[in-house]
Assembly symmetry: C2
DNA sequence: TACTCTAATTGTAATCATTACAAATTAAAA
DNA sequence: TTTTAATTTGTAATGATTACAATTAGAGTA
């Protein structure tokens, strides 16, 4: 996706497409690794020398509010950000501390959500040891 | 459950049953409100004037490691603790900020957990507006 | 293009939950 | 008891996140 296209997406979601917001969203679209604010900051400060940590949080907040990204709190210490907004769960490996996606069907989500509550967003977090770390143990 | 009984439970889970740990576990057993460390601290400092915030965290960590309680991170700002360890999900109301339990069936959990990952613990977090707040809006 | 107004960015400082640490206390075994 | 190891506790440190005010950039208008 080109920067121009990303700008259009932001605009169509009511988000003013500043250079920084476009850069943050582009980074998340091309790095599906659930990066932390600090990781994003270090990656983008090279492109924008005046880039600020605060801008990462501000941009992410604007993108999350518009429904373009999700904030993941599977890690108690720090937030992670994810451009994938379709149905999926998150798995955190306690050994390598990476976060992976795994598929979650529409039916199982429907089965989960309590009927009497409204306007629901859901997160499925699973913690354990990933296949790669299992092999190396 | 008496203090004596709680002591036995801790001991049988390999946790040295100190007064403070018994008090924290008793508080969580009798208050299924998913309290924060601060809430527990304020409640117990009345019983133990020398009670410390650090002890809440230490005790909770020991209890969680023994599998007696769970740490809930549905709230990005602060941890919550829950003596309920059977299958259930957590719902956070964005209006009153309370956390409620809701049932999650064994099958839906099995359907969720990715097969290739091991030693899994899972958390299902749903966010929205609770029935009580829906009525008052 | 220049102008204007509003919104966004940025750097610094503050906040606040959580943890580190070392001294004092307690638990449990001998 | 006495001893020893584990736990508690108060204070200080940590570190992610936010508040804030000054600067800068975005987008519409003439």
């Amino acid at each position: 996706m080109t920067k121009q296209r990303i700008s259009d997406v932001l605009r169509s979601h009511g988000v003013c497409p500043t250079q920084q917001r476009v850069a943050v969203y582009e980074y998340l679209l091309t790095h599906r690794t659930h990066p932390t604010a600090d990781t994003i900051y270090h990656a983008l400060v090279q492109e924008f020398p005046s880039f600020s940590r605060t801008t990462v949080y501000n941009s992410a907040k604007a993108l999350a509010k518009a429904g373009l990204i999700r904030v993941i709190t599977i890690d108690a210490e720090e937030q992670r950000f994810d451009a994938g907004i379709e149905n999926h769960g998150h798995f955190r490996c306690t050994h390598c501390n990476e976060v992976f996606d795994f598929p979650v069907s529409e039916e199982s989500v429907t089965a989960l959500s309590p009927a009497s509550f409204e306007g629901n967003t859901w997160d499925v977090y699973v913690t354990g040891v990933c296949p790669h770390c299992q092999a190396s143990l």
